[in-house]
């Protein structure tokens, strides 16, 4: 088993636990923005897509990489955008009066 695999597994398990503990605390009020925000964060796969595209190895990998950049970057832009739009709408009774 490659050493990289083991260190990645450590990271995966620890990040999973951190995620579990943090997400448990998110109020059900914000479950929709939670899903769109984690989606936008997940769109960080765009960095891998950029590398595949920019390494310019074969025509196939450039095509696949380009599509992957489009798909993930649109998720990133749209995900942050809509999450912020949703969160701006959440107002408490007090802040509404003031």
């Amino acid at each position: 088993m490659p050493a990289d695999f083991i260190s990645n597994l450590y990271v995966f398990i620890l990040a999973g636990f951190v995620g579990f503990e943090l997400i448990k605390r998110v109020s059900p009020l914000l479950h929709t923005p939670l899903m769109s925000l984690t989606n936008a964060l997940d769109a960080i796969v765009v960095v891998a897509a950029i590398i595949i595209t920019g390494r310019h190895e074969t025509r196939l990998t450039v095509v696949l990489g380009t599509i992957a950049v489009v798909a993930s970057f649109s998720n990133m832009v749209g995900g942050f955008f809509i999450t912020d739009r949703m969160l701006r709408m959440f107002k408490s009774g007090k802040s509404k009066q003031s």
């Binding site: 899903m35 984690t38 969160l87």
Partner: protein, 463 residues
């Protein structure tokens, strides 16, 4: 700058991005700090992309720039959709996320520089299977939510056996590839089989189960990104994927609990099929109905009102009219709260977003457990487009398909008013005994039209 030092700068940027990702989710826990969370996520993503552009492996930028511009062009309109379209947009974004993870895995397999080892083949195989099935599954879910595809469950005999054999086929091909990664002709077949499985997986699932399915697809999309991180040895992907995956997983568990069902039951149960028989056989029982004038009068005399919104409110786009009613009642000194069931609507938190859009203050949106104790002191419960989540049979009738599902105790309030198009049971086909109770009044009509008639009554009679 030599390459090694540059690589270290890149690594530190990724580490900073990971820290900001975690803070982003931490800040999202409360509506007060949530927008800061979005900002943290944006900064982290921008940093990571900027750093990646300095990666010395990149030799050609043309297609990167074109793809980034196209991606922004697709993403911005998708970020501007109406709040009622958020469930299908979310399903579509799961599809995009899974697609890009799958495509990168596929490209990694075909990169000719070094032959893939058996171990890598296993990682790539699993990653591409999960990414592909999530891609087509999410597209089907988005199609159902957009009502391009029928929302009812589509089932046939032996369906589960067929679906599971297809999944087994995809996994079998992956195993064959692990034994001999050079069998390149098997790889595209495996992808097609996995894509097919995604279609088979979601097609039989009905609209009412969408909150669970969307959450589950969310977690698949996250885990496929994490697996891709394993393939590429990229820790930033492992962390982002693990966060997204665990978020989807937790949400699916919450959704399943809120319906008292197991994962297997949601995925393979084809909800509602059992119920059609007995519900159809039921004879028409008498119900009491009321006009908008009567409803307005009863609401005006109340001192505590609980509004229960459901998917029907979203379909009728009634949320703004509901907020007008909320304003009128609140102005008269009536205490108005909203009771939000976890699976009301088509995705987790759907109702909260719609009502927040309509300017209802979020401190009046109450979770089921927080409001269930209030119903005995409630004068009027007004149910708008919700059905199963108010069904008292879930507590008493062991033969009911939703027996054991936690529901809102609306029948404990003095008066129950239900806005509903007709007495037809929903597509789940489950009869709701609530409608035949003595204190229940049925308000027949379109949710938006009926609420605006009530609002009109108030403005006519009370200035």
């Amino acid at each position: 700058m030599n390459t090694l030092a540059l690589q270290q700068y890149l690594d530190f940027t990724y580490i900073a991005a990971v820290v900001l990702f975690i803070l982003a989710i931490k800040w999202l826990s409360s509506p007060v700090s949530a927008r800061r969370g979005v900002l943290a996520g944006e900064i982290a993503s921008a940093m990571a992309i900027a750093a990646t552009l300095f990666n010395p492996d990149l030799v050609h930028y043309k297609w990167i720039v074109i793809a980034l511009i196209l991606g922004a062009g697709v993403g911005i309109p998708l970020g501007m959709v109406k709040m009622t379209a958020v469930p299908q947009r979310t399903a579509l974004s799961h599809a995009f996320g899974a697609l890009s993870a799958a495509l990168i895995g596929i490209a990694e397999y075909y990169v000719g520089t070094a032959p893939v080892s058996r171990f890598q083949m296993g990682e790539i195989g699993l990653e591409v299977i999960i990414g592909s099935l999530t891609f087509t599954g999410s597209l089907i879910a988005a199609g159902k939510l957009q009502e391009i595809l029928p929302q009812r469950p589509i089932v046939y005999r032996g369906q589960n056996i067929v679906s599971l054999s297809v999944l087994g086929g995809a996994l079998g091909l992956a195993v064959a590839l692990v034994f001999n990664p050079a069998n390149t002709f098997l790889f595209p077949i495996m992808i097609v089989v996995a894509l097919t499985f995604g279609v088979l997986l979601v097609t039989p699932i009905g609209g009412a189960d969408m909150p669970t399915v969307i959450s589950l697809l969310n977690s698949y999309a996250g885990f496929s990104a994490a697996l891709l991180g394993f393939v590429l040895n990229s820790k930033v992907l492992v962390v982002a994927g693990a966060l997204d995956g665990s978020s989807g997983f937790i949400l699916s568990v919450i959704m399943c609990k809120a319906m008292n069902r197991s994962f297997t039951n949601v995925m393979f149960g084809a909800f509602g099929q059992v119920a059609t028989g007995p519900a159809a056989a039921q004879e028409a029982r008498p119900v009491k109905s009321a006009s908008p004038e009567e409803a307005a009068e009863i609401l005006g005399a109340a001192s505590k009102v609980v509004i229960v919104p459901g998917y029907g409110m979203a379909v009728a786009q009634a949320q703004h009219k509901v907020r007008e009613l909320y304003d009128l009642l609140t102005k008269r000194g009536i205490d108005v709260q909203f009771a939000i069931h976890p699976v009301a609507g088509r995705m987790p938190g759907h109702m909260n977003v719609l009502l927040a859009e309509a300017d209802v203050p979020y401190d009046h949106l109450k979770e089921m457990d927080d409001i269930n104790g209030d119903f005995p002191q409630t004068d009027v419960s007004l149910i708008i487009g919700a059905n199963d989540v108010t069904n008292p049979a879930a507590k008493t009738d062991k033969s009911s398909p939703i027996y054991g599902m936690p529901v809102l105790d609306v029948e404990r309030s003095h008066t129950v008013m239900v806005i509903k198009r007709s007495m037809n049971p929903g597509f789940a086909g489950i009869d709701n005994p609530l409608y035949y109770l003595d204190q229940t009044l049925m308000l027949f009509g379109d949710a938006k039209a009926f609420v605006s008639n009530i609002v009109k009554e108030f403005s006519n009679s009370h200035g």
